[in-house]
Symmetry: none
Subunit: 278 residues, 4 copies
């Protein structure tokens, strides 16, 4: 698209229009003169400034702190804190995993700064989210019971639909698309970086919400990247639809959705749950 | 996340299937027998229907027809037709390439079903678009004049910001990130499938609009795929910002935008211009 | 990372430019003057040439020609032609759809420049491919028989594993993840642009092969974009594993693979089959 | 592609061939019989097992431990440790930032478990990498000197070509595509989560290497995701070519490459440098 003959003068005007677009028209003559003189100087000299960009300016965020296994990683300054060790006020009780309209208060116990899943219900965040970075820490029971999917099972449903599996997979084989770190029955994790039962583990999840078109079809899938205990287990994985226990993913157009923490009958502990809206 | 109650038997069967693979052939009879007995419960229920999805139903579209070089490819039934050979009514005159607010009628001549660029202005579509499939055909002058960027130069600005270059590149070298098929100064085309001057050429462009966050930063770039004369020249290429003549791409949050056809001083012909909103 | 020595002055100028935008017009004269004086040093050196790239040079390709419905689109100069209307010499007979080691000659009849599927076998290309652009044209029987998956059914297996469905879907509903234009049981097409039975239809497919790691896990999925009759039906869709009739996709590390055209008991015609290795 | 008339029996065989492929041929009759009986039972019942996958099995990895700010995050069991606090033995001295062939030992001092950049050279890892997860921690000088790009400047060059910027950006503005967390002059970070000068900061980087074709063109760009201090600053960003100080990215076909830590004249400290090959 590069201008040819008449381009030189025109371009100088363009640069000025960009830089000085608020300058009044009375200055135009001065600028045009200046612009003209600019063109005399080394027109093909490359400079570092040519490739600098000065806006938009990224917002300042104060990062959280990470400490020993006993305390975990606190929330950064721009995060929505869903659980900070004190109470379950940011959650509703939700029967089953699919989000309901219930506004009953969550009955999960909080003990020593830990939120424990209980058979009373699953937990649904009051706030709903689109694109996000989610951090949470979980602890499967130190007393090992059951095996396969029956050991330390829970799950984190993004937008109430897309489950990142929680499971005690330490020396406990199961189907690989249902392991901890899997997108349940959609994506096998790259590795199994499980810590031992009773130890705290962390999830750092980057989620880009799907884009649906007018016909309700998925123009862009959700994309998710997951680090488990700081180790990459899913890299920019396309989530093709809902994570189903039976059958293949289903496509359902939707907007923002809640975080749902699953109760699966095993008392799994959670702490430091926070979301950064991207 | 699977339910627990009946899960135990299921899991054992699954583990059985896994282990089956490693057992020696001397055990095969026993296993086959076991397999048969298990078969009464589960594996035969792996059915084709489990993985069928019946909705949402994709809309029916009647595709256009493509004929010889003389007529090109007509619009499908769900397309917005921007030029069908009759008049320039769907376009405004636009001074320069950056979209203006002008609603002046476009002065480009229409001759024999072809819309020719002219020095009166660039052309800006009245309608604005987001995600889209764009088809158009162009014809650089059969009488070759100029060279490099000065020969048969025009351009298609998606959302008024992201230029897919139009140029007569038949035996006419230029900088490769400014060739026909390039995302101007951002992405080199994979090949140069130029037809000869005066022959009709086609662009099929798939464009996914960028996603910006609250801070005005680009959370997801625009992605573009381009076929030139049916040949892939850009595959899912991230467009990092505006396509600048000088300097690097700039990030500017925006919504829908028009198609702009550039006038660059060379009389380039256009026909069969249509957009499918995705 | 820029060098430090001379940087101080440059930076100050840059900041100056940033701030310029917010000053009032009463200061414009002063600024313009300042701009002029600075101009001796830097901003005019923002040149178009700074952002030109001259290599690597994309190879020249002569595109094919497309003509009326009766002839279709011929191969470009850099394509591997798998069927040009004359014979089936580039294909093996393959029992079933999964690639075998058979080197038996394909028994499909060639009539009037068309290759018709027959119950003798499926067709497996002799050559194997990785990243590619694939073009082919197909024709389901003009005499309509059967319904759902039983009408004009065939399929194009990329790398012998990933099926793009072929089906007569003209006024013939079936499960949407098994429609023409679907990635079989993995991705619903965006629209249904089927032509009538007996009419020629075209597939243009862009395929990026999956990337597996040392553990045999899929680090990057296959990505596929599909145009059916010139209409986008799949856009950069992640193919998560093999396209299974029963069950979910399976992950199998592999290298290049053949094109397999399925015989499904319906005599589907093919022509203009060519592949460009990307 | 679903079989129609003869498909049912054939499919049952297929399932058995998959599950029992190592069973000897003497058992085939038994299996076929079993397979036939399977088909009699509830062919359209959906089961959880239909969507389980049991292989490939992700490797077990023991994650590192993270402790207070004083110690950082140690390497997981499958990582290549480039610096563990003891010596610079895994690095060469490299004049400038572009990788050289030099095998001179790195002269950067190691003090109290920290590797400090020095004006002697940049640091180039002896080992070269492709797809990877990279972790490192850095510390800009607690005594603040200079400003803009002159304060705490260093950089991490992935494959010796693609720079993730290191800079003291705490209350220190610069051009946004050159901030800490930027892909230098290619991608602005989403936020600025800088810690104060002298505090330890962490980079967790996921890098997918670019894919070049035979013509030397970039078929797939490098993609990079970056967390700075646990905060997402780059999400699956396409790196379009080399990160240039002057001009736009350049496309150069290449294989694996080293990590280069830049010396920029400021004594920046590094620790816990490890790479997991993906």
């Amino acid at each position: 698209m590069r201008p040819i003959d008449s381009g030189l003068i025109f371009d100088r005007f363009s640069i000025f229009r960009l830089h000085m677009k608020q300058v009044t028209s009375t200055l135009a003559v001065v600028l045009a003169t200046a612009g003209f003189s600019f063109a005399q100087v080394q027109p093909n000299k490359q400079t570092p400034e040519s490739s600098e960009i000065w806006e938009p300016v990224p917002p300042v965020v104060t990062p959280g702190v990470y400490s020993a296994n006993t305390a975990g990683t606190t929330a950064p300054s721009d995060a929505v804190v869903l659980f900070d060790g004190k109470n379950a006020d940011n959650w509703y009780a939700n029967k089953g995993y699919a989000p309901t309209a219930s506004t009953d208060p969550l009955q999960w116990p909080v003990q020593n700064g830990v939120l424990y899943s209980s058979k009373t219900s699953s937990a649904r965040s009051k706030q709903e989210f689109g694109d996000m970075q989610l951090h949470l820490e979980f602890q499967t029971p130190s007393k090992v019971e059951g095996n396969g999917q029956g050991r330390g099972n829970s799950g984190v449903f993004l937008q109430g639909r897309y489950e990142v599996q929680v499971l005690d997979n330490y020396q406990n084989p199961t189907y690989v698309n249902g392991m901890v770190g899997s997108i349940y029955k959609q994506a096998i994790p790259l590795v199994n970086p499980s810590r031992k039962p009773g130890e705290w583990q962390s999830y750092d999840i980057i989620f880009i919400a799907p884009r649906f078109n007018k016909a309700g079809l998925m123009l862009e899938p959700a994309y998710v990247t997951v680090l488990l205990n700081g180790i990459l287990v899913q890299n920019h994985v396309a989530v093709k639809g809902t994570t189903e226990y039976i059958g293949v993913p289903k496509v359902q157009a939707h907007g923002k959705g809640p975080i749902v923490l699953q109760d699966h009958g095993n008392p799994v502990g959670f702490r430091n749950i926070w979301v950064r809206e991207l």
